[in-house]
Structure formats: C-alpha cells, structure tokens
Symmetry: D2
Subunit: 383 residues, 4 copies
C-alpha cells in the first residue's frame, strides 16, 4: 500500500523528528493516594541520564533530556558541570530547563501569583537562577509551569494575580540571552480546584505577548477541557507566528496535531520550529519501557502524518468535498507504517525493534538489582 514516494516522505520526516525525554519520567511518582514503588526507578540525576540514554540508544530520536532544577540540579549552577559530564557520558544533551515553584511550603498560596511580594520575589529568584543554569548548559528553552490558583470562590483576586504574573514573566524575559526562549504552559485544573492562574491557551498567549518575543506558548495535550479541539489551538498558534512545544502523547489525537503541523509546513514551505517533549511519568508501567513505548508511538503517528497527500487534501477542502477530505486524512492514518520505521532504523544503525533491543540488553535486570533494595524502602501515604 505504501509507495516509494510515500516511503521517502516518511524517511525524510523521521530524519527530522526529535522528541525530548523528561528526567522525572524515570523516577517513582504516584497519585495523591500514594506511590507504587518500582525497584528499577531512578533516584539520582546520574541514574536518570543513564536511563534516558538507553531510550535514545534504542530509538535514535531522543537526543535531549528535560531537566528539573529542584530535583536534578539541587545546587543550581554548581551542578552544571556534573550535568554536562553526565550528558556527554550518555550521548545526550541537556534539554529544556524546568524551574520548580510549587513544591516548597512557601508556595501554598502561589508563586508568581502569590499575594505576598516576598514569595513572588522568591519564585522569581528561583526562575532567574534557572535561566542562569539554562545559559550555562546551552539550553534553548526554559519551560514554565505554574501550579498557581485557588480552591474556593472569592479567596483570591484573579486580576491582581494576573498582573503579578505579567510582571514576573516580563522580568524573566529580560534575563534571557539571545537564542533562548521561555515556554509558558497552561492547564485548566489541578492541583487547584476553583481557578488556575494560567488556565488556557488564551491566557498563556496574552502573558507571552506581554512578556516579549522570546516567550512562547507551550501546549501540553493533556491540559485541556474535555472535548476541546487541540489541533485547532495548534493551528491558530502556527498561523499567528507563535511557536509551540508539545507535551504528553495521546495516541489517537496526536496524529491530527502532527497533521496540522505537516500541512502548515507543506503550505508555507517553511519549517515549523517545534520542540516536541514528552511529559509523562507512568506510575504503574516500567519507567524505561513506558518511555520507549511512547516514543515509538509518537514516531508511528508522525510517520502517518507525513503520508497525507496535502495537494489533494487542500483541493478537497477548497471545494468542500467533505467525504473525500475526511477519507484523505483517514487513509494516511490507516496505513501500517511500522515496516518503514523498521527500515529507517536499520539504515541508521539502530535496532529494528526498540523494545526488543532494550529487553535483550539486560539493562533492566542490572538496575533492578542495583537499585531495588534502596527503592522499595521508601513510604508514602495519603493522610
């Protein structure tokens, strides 16, 4: 079913496809009801780099690792040398830098949106320190997610908080060097129940525009209202000259998102400068296997999106040939692209099947033995 021409397009697409791994995706995490511990989970920065290196080794598309300042660089810039050494050791580069302004007890009522000016300053200081790390590590992106919000109507002044965010993000923008960016993430719920300060793409966009041209909206596919059309948001951001970053992966919807991006590139003849990132930390699946599975799925969906016949589709759209347009899109999705991906992998000197290669490497057994006893002694409880 897949023609030579289509195969070429897939190969071409895969050659340009990168997706960033999150360091925290290799650590034990959980729900508010507790953590189920995995013997092979990573606890040190070194272990996270080692695990991420395994994923890149078998998939070939994950050259960067997102870092969490509080967990991976607890000593701040003082940890940069070690991080760079680890990156070199495992064939990776430092990716986006993620400040943490939600875990400290001071952030109970918010960080950049806190009514207390001293705490706002504390949050800003941590963010600016993260920008410094970003510079030292040569990272392009600062990734900003805020847990700020409120749980009950009337308890916070939404407008004041909006302005404090505007101020904090402007100050952050001012500290960025040339070629660096700050990504502003949005999320309509969790952990706050009543209001989240940056709840949707409209709020993230308004704050980014106020901050300056290096500020961009970060789209996490899991951070939307039910029934919200995410690919439409992506299309709007693409069309208004704004970049975006893509977070966690929903297997069936993300194809349509990849398609919007591919169609934009075809139509404009320019490359969409998009940083794809995974933000997941599966609490039941094995960490590394879960990551390989996600990367593999993303590759499949990206390859399918590369198969859409854009010329035909554009024609059907222009003439409102609904049945043909929909079929054109679904036909690309119906293809089985796994053989082409296998072929591509072999041509790159990568394993034909990433999961198999990982399982046969003995790595999991090794780290399970090494880390097991330590990991299983931790404890966590809801109340």
């Amino acid at each position: 079913m897949i023609s030579t021409k289509q195969t070429d397009r897939i190969i071409h697409a895969l050659n340009a496809f990168h997706i960033e791994l999150p360091s925290w995706g290799f650590a034990n995490t959980g729900t508010r009801f507790g953590k189920f511990l995995q013997p092979a989970a990573a606890t040190s920065t070194a272990e996270k780099f080692a695990d991420a290196g395994q994923v890149h080794r078998v998939t070939g598309v994950c050259p960067t690792i997102a870092l969490h300042v509080l967990w991976d660089l607890p000593k701040g810039v003082g940890d940069c040398a070690e991080v760079q050494a680890l990156a070199a050791e495992h064939g990776l580069r430092p990716g986006s830098i993620n400040p943490n302004v939600f875990q400290d007890q001071n952030y109970k009522y918010g960080s950049l949106g806190n009514p207390d000016a001293a705490i706002r300053q504390e949050a800003l200081d941590h963010i600016l320190a993260s920008v410094e790390i970003q510079k030292r590590l040569g990272s392009r992106d600062l990734s900003l997610w805020f847990a700020d919000g409120s749980n009950y109507p009337g308890t916070q002044n939404i407008r004041h908080r909006r302005r404090w965010f505007e101020e904090g993000l402007k100050a952050t923008h001012a500290a960025l060097a040339e070629g660096q960016r700050m990504m502003v993430e949005y999320k309509p719920f969790e952990p706050a129940f009543y209001h989240t300060d940056i709840a949707d793409w409209g709020m993230a966009l308004a704050l980014s525009q106020a901050a300056g041209p290096k500020a961009k909206v970060l789209v996490d596919t899991g951070h939307h209202y039910q029934a919200q059309n995410i690919e439409q948001i992506v299309a709007w951001l693409l069309d208004t000259d704004d970049d975006l970053t893509m977070g966690s992966i929903d297997p069936y919807q993300v194809f349509r998102i990849f398609h919007e991006i591919a169609h934009f590139e075809w139509e404009t003849g320019q490359r969409a400068d998009i940083a794809y990132m995974i933000d997941q930390s599966h609490n039941l699946k094995g960490k590394i296997e879960a990551m390989i599975q996600t990367v593999t799925t993303a590759m499949e969906l990206f390859a399918k999106a590369a198969m859409v016949d854009h010329e035909k589709l554009a024609g059907y759209q222009a003439s409102c040939a609904l049945v043909d347009a929909e079929t054109c899109l679904k036909d690309a999705f119906s293809n089985d692209v796994r053989p082409v991906i296998r072929e591509w992998a072999i041509s790159k000197g990568l394993p034909a099947d990433a999961m198999d290669a990982f399982r046969q490497s003995g790595y999991l057994e090794k780290i399970t033995a090494e880390r097991g006893a330590r990991n299983m002694s931790a404890i966590s409880s809801y109340a």
Copy 2:
C-alpha cells in the same frame, strides 16, 4: 439581616442595572427534533415589541430590545422607520443589532469563514447592511455570532478560515461610526461538531484585537466548556481594558460573575461599561413569563453581588484568609434580597411583584386569543 447601608448599596446598584431582551425570545423555537408551539408566541416584529414592552413595564430594567436583522428587519434599512415607531409605542429603544449569516442555504460551509470568496462577500454584505441599520436606529452594539465550523477532521483548513475571519471583521470594523461597537461572540460547539471557528475567548479576543478598538469580546455564559471558570475570563477581560457583554443567565454561577464586576468597580473606582443581555428562547415555558422570571433572577443576583463587603474581602484575599474570604462572599449570597427589590420597585412606581402584575394584566389571555389559531397550525419535523 440587611443593614440600611447595605440596602442603600442594593438600591444604588439596581438604579444602574439594565438588561436587554432578545426579540427572538418571544417567538416559537425548538430543538432539532421539532418545535413545541405556543399559542401566545410572537411572530411579527410588532408582536415581539409588544411582548418585550410588557416585560419592561413590570420589571423596569429592560429598556432595550435586541433585534435580529433577518427576522425583525427583513427589508433592511427599509424597516427602520417602522421599528422606531414600534419602539416608541412600547416604551423601548432598539438594542443590539444581530446579523444572521447562518440560516441561508449558502452558509452550509460557513459565512465569513467559507472557502468560497463569493459567499464570504455575501456574508460581509449582510453584516455591513446590519451596520447601516445600526446607524439608522442609533444602536450602540453590533452583535456577531457565527455558526461557522466543520464536522469532520481534515475537511477544512482552520488557518485559512481564521484569516478570512480576520479580514471580514476588519472590514466590519472599518464601517462602524464613532460610538458604535462590534461584539464578537465565541462558542466551543454547536452547531458544528468538530471545530468552531471562534471557539473560545482567546480566539474572540485575538480577532477583536486584530479588528480594532471598537471590537469587544461577547461572553455568553452558556458558551463554555464544562468546568470552565467563566468569572475568571470576565476578570481577565475587565483587567485588560476590554469590555464585554453578558448573555444567558445561569442562576447560581452568575452571582460570582456579577461579583467580579462589582469588585473591579469598587477597586478601580470606575464603572465597568458592560451591556447585559439575555439570549434565551425557552421552548417549553411561556415566553413572556420565562423572560420575567429570568430578569427577576438577574436582579436578585445583581443585588446580592452589591452586598459583598469589598474592603473586608480584599483584606482576606491579601492575607490568604481562605475561610473568611469564602464566607464573606457566601454571606452576601445567603441574604434574602427580595424584600429590598420589592421596596425599590415600589419607589420607582413599578409593581412590587413583576410576575403577579403580568398575570393580573390579562395580557397573556388577550394575545393567546388573538394569536392562538394562527400559531398552532405550523409544523416542524426532524427528518
């Protein structure tokens, strides 16, 4: 429980409270499964003005009536003289002007977002004709809702449509006279299933900003995702110097929205220039009674919002006294404001109880007799 000072605040608030009635709220409407016909429903523009006049007569807060160009002014500007005469006769003023670019068969694939340039022009022409009506009638607001969207992934180019909307709205803005405004409405779903071209407040805001300073976002409380925090959107729009208009009424949530507006006014010392509008057409309740019930509910909620102790609340918010802040807001809501509203009405020469006054007027019996036979002969079917 209600102090003299609080009573004064309620009276003061009610004196400034106006809410616009929709002409189409007095006509027979239905669901896609059919219409249930009411013998007393209005079918002509004259009947709609007469019915709206009754609502204003008993409530005293509805001096304007929103007009639908296609249904109320089928001859366009040629109908303006008659509309003005009707308004004068019934003690009303023409309110917002609503073009209709969704009913004609040509709009099957959209209006301002249609891939066919000729149909986009047709839609724009109708909107520009509506602006002309707006000028003749001295209406301040043009109210723009679009049914545009698509039902299946891949069938339309979302980015092209966005740009066509930007063009159409700019052209509309260019035609407005001094002192006129255009309100851009958003809605995430219905009638389109897959994507709506102006789906959320962020899209409406971006298009309004592109159109020009006379373009404002119209917030209809019924046009949001489940669990979306509408009062937050209102607070953001208030804070970014944008006006808004409020649509249909959800009795328990709208209090919080009124509160955000009242708190903004208290804090800034300036009046929020907000046009409140009802956009409802109950298909089971009696039309006029439903309208009176909605207006009465809106007055109660507005009066409750006027009772919030802003000084106290601001202090609680600043110190993160969550329990006190929430209680402060809920206390205002817990009050029974009906006696004060009754008192206010009597002082204005209005009936103490609007619904009673309407029921005792004999108006409903009169129009039922006059309109009944004609109305009950219509027919409608799903398939």
Copy 3:
C-alpha cells in the same frame, strides 16, 4: 505484516458482520438553527429503500433497514405490505422498528413519563401499534428512544416519571411475541437540558430488568458523558447476560468496543448476539456517501478487532504485563486491513472499493436530477 492465519480470522469475522442502516439517514435533517437541504435526499419510504439498497449493494454487509413508524409507515400496519414489497425490490429486510413519541405536540412534557395519564396512554398505544408492525414485518427488534425529561430543576417529579416508564415498558413487553425483543436506549442530554428520564445505562438496565427478559439495553456510542468508558459498559452488559445494540460510530473508540466483544467471544466460546446499527443523519455530507463511508470504517475496525491475539492478551492481563498488553492491542489496531477487506469483497462478488463503485454507478446523478427541484424548495428556520 498480516499472516495467513490472521487473514482467515478477518475473513471469518467479516462473513458474520452485519450493520443496520437507518431509513432516516437518507432524509434531510439539520440542527435547531435550520436544515441545509440536499437535492438528492430521500423523502419517501420508497426512496429511502432505494438508497439503502445502494449501500448494501456496494458494501454487502447492510441487509436490513431500520424503520421509523411515523415517517416510514404513517398508516401503520396498513403500510406493511408496501414496505415488504419495497424490501424485496431492493434486496433488503425490514430491521428494527422505531416508534416516535417525541414529535407530536402532545409530547411537550413527555410521552411514557408525562404527568398526564391520557398522553401516557397515547404514547403506549403508538408503541403497541409499532409492536404490531414489528410482528407483521417479522422484525426482531423494537428500538425505543425517548426524548422525555425536563429543562428546569423542580419542574417534574423524577420518581413518578420513573414509575410511569416502568409501567409503560412492562406493558410493551407483554405485547411482544416469542423471538421478539425491545431495546431500551439511554441518553444523558438533549433535547432536555436538566434531566433525561433514561439518562444512563444503569437506568436503562433497571427498566429493562423490570420489564422482562425480552428487554435489552441499547448502547449508542454517542450518548454518553464526556470521558465515560463505553467499552466498560459493553463489557459489563456482556458479562451480565444482557444483549446490546450499537449505534453511531466513533472511528477511534469503536475498535476498543469491538475488541471487548471479540474477546468475550473468544473467552466464552459463544457468539455475542449483538445487533449493530448505524444511527446517523449527516446534514452536510452527501447522505449515501456518508453511509458508505461509515459502513466501510466499521468494517475496518471490526477487522482490526479480529486480529487481536487473545491468548497472548489474556496472558499479559493475568500477569499485569501492562506494556505488553497495551502493545498487543495497539498492534492489532496498527495493521492496515484494507487489502484484506478488498480481497474479501472480491471473493463475495462485491466491488473492491465500495465508494468508487457507488460513484461510478451514476445513481447519485440520477436521483439528484429526479429529486432536486422538489427538495430545494423546502424551508426551515430557527425562530
């Protein structure tokens, strides 16, 4: 990628696959804002049979047509002879019988749940007349959907209405002959805003159980809350010895539903006696083409579900091998089954590509010419 053994399983599955067409899916329908008219839409029962016959002719899996009593058999049993003649003429059999107790003005406040006993009786009489039609036509299933509900809190006694439904459905059950069934549909919203009398599967199941063993729950995939797990409901109904019927098709979710059914059959060694039905009426796509597209998609998803390796999956589930279990399911979905379906079609003497065959038949051009002028003169308006 697809082995001979897998091909055999697909062929075997397709041989047993039937999906029912709805007569009303060929007629003009719309939204509450109006109908967009299609020149080729069917208006008579004869035209609906003719169109459905076309779909069966090119797909080979649609031997039955669901009938709507009010629209297709307006004279009740008096129309049965003509319907049987039409069925014979177009190579079809009458499928499920659908009473209509929502369109008549009397049903404004409900049908079997109406507070007025006379209207409840009227609804029951229509349903019993439908059972009589069912017997005459040899239809197995009576398909019951109710628009009953209320729009405002407090306006109806929910418990009384529940009991009236129980009574009405018991009376319906008593009228069924041996081998006949009644399907009870649920829907959480639309057209009612506040409460729907049969809102979810739990209510439908309770009413079915009260009615008797010939009453079954009808699952329409479009009638659920956002984020509700439909395949879980299907699994529960399968496991509690209840049949089900499947309605409208969501391309990406329905695979999981088909899989639950296939896995049940594999595990129990017994056939799940399920009637698949389409309940759609696209208002923008061409009617017949939309139906062919839906049937084709259903066949693809059904074929993919037939490829799941149940033995392996069961083992993975038992040992909580999450990554392997999920991959096992997704692998089946990743296959491109279109070549096998084409092969199957040819072996049955059917066209290799159903849509192509229909388009080349000239049928659409013929009916467009015949029906066009009549169809485009109708009119519909929201208010």
Copy 4:
C-alpha cells in the same frame, strides 16, 4: 419572609439532621505534587477525636466520626478499646468504618479486582477484619471505596474484575451482623485513568444487589461525570428502595439533592434512612475551620430544603406549570435561613455562631503550639 410555620419546619428538620465527620479530614493531605503542611493538623487518632469533638461541640450535629482502619486502628480490633475510650472522652460515637485496600504496594494492580488471587484474598481479609472492628465498635456502616482500575486500554480484563468484585462483596456481605450495612461507593475516575472498576451508580447498584440486602450504594457528590444530574440518581435510589449515603458537599447543588429527599419523605410519609457524611480533607484551609464551615453550609442548605412547599410543588409538577414549579423551588433557596439556625442553636444550648465560638475557644492556638514543631518537619515530593 419566613413564617412561623416555616420556622417550625426548619427546627424540626434540624433536630433530625446529623452529618458524620471523617477522621482523615483533620490530618495533613495534599495533591500528587506534594503536601502543604499545617502546624495544627492531627496525626494521632487521639488528636483526630479531639478535633472532631470541637466541631461537634460548636455545631451540635456531628455526633459520629468515620474511622479509617489503616490510619486510626493500625492494630485492628486491638485498638477498639482505645477508640471507644476516645469517643467517650470527646462526646462522639464511632461512625462508619473505612477499610484501606489501596495504599499497600500489593494493591498496585488492584485489590478485590486484582488478577492475583492471593492479593484479592489479602484485600478481603482486611475488609473482613474491618467488619470485625465494625462489630466491636457498634458501627452501623462499612464504607467501601476501591481505587481499582486500569490506566491503559487492553491491560486488564474488565469482566473478570467485575466478577471478582462480585465475589468479594458477597463474602463481605456474608460476614455482616444483623443491623449492619455495607456501603458501595463509585467513582468514574482517579486514581485510574482508563477504567475504574466501580465507575458509576449503575455498577455500584448491580454489585450491591448481587451482594445482598445489607449492601447499599454510597453517593459521593464529587464522584460524577461533568453535567451528570446527581439528584436524579438520588431520586432513583430513593424510589427503588435503596438507601444511600452522601459524601462531599457542593454548596449550590446539594440543596437540590436535599430537596429530592425531603420531597420523597413528604410524599411517602416515611423517613428516608440516609446517613450523611462529609468526605473532605482541605489541604489549604485550616482543617477544623474548614469542617465547621462545611457543616454550617450543610445545615443552611438542609434548612432551605425544609422550606419547600411540597403541596404546591406537587400540584405545579402535575399540571406542568413550569414557571411556578421552578419558582417554588427557587423561592425556598432564596430565603435567608441563618437567623432561624441561630435561634435553633441557642435553644439547644449551642453557640449562636459556631465559627466564632471555635475561634474564641483558644483551641486552635493550643494545638498549634503543641503540634506545630512536629508537623512542619515532614516532607513530601512529587518525584
């Protein structure tokens, strides 16, 4: 506005109103991103009883405290004597008994629904031990919430798990003594992402009916799909002779739920035997103050529901007088019942204002001093 007759009804209603406090509502809890620690939070069972005693002392309607077996009775029946002594000391009685089959590492893939028979047995043993505690403490209700579910399609056999739940609940039922009950809770999401084994009221009801007559459905108002009509579920459960328990409190919706219950009682002349329970643990508000605020809100809403004029409402419902029916219900809600509640409290020797009384008692300052240093040294992290 409130007549003497209405006052009597409120007093009568409040006299019968009890709402149970959860022991875990006084402990530090959090979100998956961490816990914000409160210096005054309770950590021992003794402290939880002391705090709950304060809430009952100032509100007068909270005579029982729900107990969590794992946290409050870690030694099982061996702790019963101490618990009874604590209850006596603080003027409370042990309330519902809550087993915990979600925290232990063994429950990673489920408890009663786990594919591993040994873990199912372990969960059952803990539940049966909880029944033994229930007997020793004279508690009427065993409260069963299960975190069981799965995170990815295909990873678990939904039907097997259903049957294992049926078996486990039957075994639990068999162990209950005369006069004891088991409450089966449902929740459509969290902590599982893909499927929850007892996801909705229909599943909880089916499992309860299979278990036996002492099994009842537990309705937690927070455990529903968005837009689901909870009062309808309550009405159905009331009407099908099943009891229910009410969980967490949503201030504006719960009035309608209380109304459905009150209307049932008025109509049938029999008391609805309902156990009201709070299941909340605010992570930002002060624990005890949050509890007092919730109890006070519940009392207000219960009192408002007692003011509905059932005779009138029933008449309006029967005649489909929609406007009057809705107004009848909203009128009751519009009343300010706080003065009557104050009056009632004084007549019972309780403080007129519960929150004031608590704040003036000095209790909070005392426990903050006693517990503060210990509490603030704990730590929690997401990854």
